[in-house]
């Protein structure tokens, strides 16, 4: 991702490669999730068994949601150390994409919850921490949009990204202790509360593949979003030059 390939209008090999690979993996993932993976035999109804498949995307999205947050955390440190636009762009882009995935977690979680536990929402640890992460993302974006000065915006966003992410592990621990009805996903036979189930090898393979596919998808989106950010930055720079001679 050198500056050269970031300019619009030039041939963008990386972008193309990433998009194509992403596309292939996501479609494969869909196939695996809906066709290849066997139905969960311990679930009663056909509806339950079908919606269980959303798990593959739910877990993938959750992993990416928090991975993106980690990237923002690291990029925040990078910005405070180096003060270049690249780090701020990385942090901001990662938040936007992470927010999308996090929203997906909450929505798929809800889709899963309804037939399984007959409720639209549960305060299970993973959903709760995802909701909190979602709020942090929103807080980050709201903070950014409320500051006009670009240097200050980048600095404050970096600080918030760092502090907020550091609270995630502690949050997770606290919420885990607080409530516990979410099934342990790749557990071997442990049934925590209602809804636990075993994972056959095919299911595990599907799950892992989907997680990887989502991660590649994340990087693709990140790449494109950062390119967009670079272009916006260039426009801003040119505007400044024009305005102030």
């Amino acid at each position: 991702m050198t500056a050269g390939t970031m300019h619009s209008g030039k041939r963008d090999i990386w972008g193309l490669v990433l998009t194509v690979v992403s596309g292939i993996m996501m479609i494969t993932g869909l196939y695996l999730a809906f066709v290849f993976a066997p139905p969960a035999m311990n679930l009663q109804t056909a509806v339950e068994r079908f919606t269980q498949r959303v798990l593959y995307f739910h877990v993938g999205a959750a992993w990416v949601g928090f991975f993106a947050f980690f990237v923002t955390f690291a990029a925040g440190i990078g910005y405070l150390a180096k003060r270049t636009f690249f780090w701020d762009n990385l942090a901001h882009s990662s938040v936007e994409i992470g927010l999308t995935f996090m929203t997906m977690v909450l929505v798929t979680g809800s889709i899963w919850a309804k037939p399984t536990w007959n409720t639209w929402w549960t305060w299970s640890p993973r959903l709760t921490i995802s909701a909190i992460g979602w709020l942090m993302y929103i807080g980050y974006l709201m903070l950014r949009s409320a500051i006009d000065n670009p240097a200050r915006r980048a600095r404050f966003a970096a600080v918030y990204g760092i502090v907020a992410f550091m609270s995630v592990p502690i949050n997770f621990m606290a919420i885990r202790w607080w409530r516990d009805i979410h099934p342990a996903v790749v557990a071997s036979g442990s049934n925590e509360g209602t809804g636990g189930f075993d994972m056959s090898p095919n299911m595990t393979a599907t799950l892992i593949f989907c997680v990887v596919a989502f991660t590649v998808f994340y990087f693709t989106l990140l790449y494109h979003r950062m390119r967009l950010g670079n272009v916006e930055h260039e426009v801003e720079t040119l505007k400044q030059k024009a305005m102030y001679r």
């Binding site: 909190i132 903070l143 404050f156 600080v159 502090v163």
Partner: protein, 245 residues
Amino acid sequence: MPQNLSSSITSDRVISEHPPQFAYLHKVLAIAGKDIAAELRTKEMMSAMFVFSLLVIFIFNFAFDLRTDNANTLAPGVLWVAIAFAGMLGLGRSFITERDRGSLEGLLLAPVDRSAIYFGKFLGNVLFISVVEVVILPLFIVFFNQPLGIIVPLVGVIVLGTIGFAGVGTLFSAMVIHTRARDVLLPIMLFPVVVPVLLSAVRLTAGILDNLPFEDVQNWLGLLVAFDLIFLAVSYMMFEYVVEE
């Protein structure tokens, strides 16, 4: 070493040649003291916080129809919601006055490490919130009909919770004053990050009210103390980046 500077004060030297011992601590206390003195003159912030927390307790009482049997289950939550909201109110105020009158620059001009400003403000915030808590606590005991023996351990929990709250809150309120939507932004940014504080505090309060053995709640105490220490340290480190220009 600083020949040119100190020797060029040809008239009487007014400041001490070398900073006295404990100068840092003195200045931290001076900053906190100044905030307290200013607030004592107007009392506008604390009266707002006090009235607000009273309202919260009253509203909860009516909203949840707290009869004696379920009062004890809800009591810890009510207490901490009141403290959290009153706290948010107070935190928002502490930097606003500095900014509007330009006096933050006065602090930044002072010959002391920037972190002294953080600790001074932090102390001031802790004190302000504590004063409100001192008023809420007896009301809480009265309205929820609690035995007096709970006061001492409860005060301990309240102190720890306030520290956790004000530690991060002081950092965030320093950021938020530079923004447009400052009153709305602070709760959105702060709440997700301090969830562990609230969870631990509520659990510990419940443990105290229900007279649970210490072992049952000790990991919550550990979590709360860990949060306080970690986030005080992180906020202290990040503060420099927030006030620099």
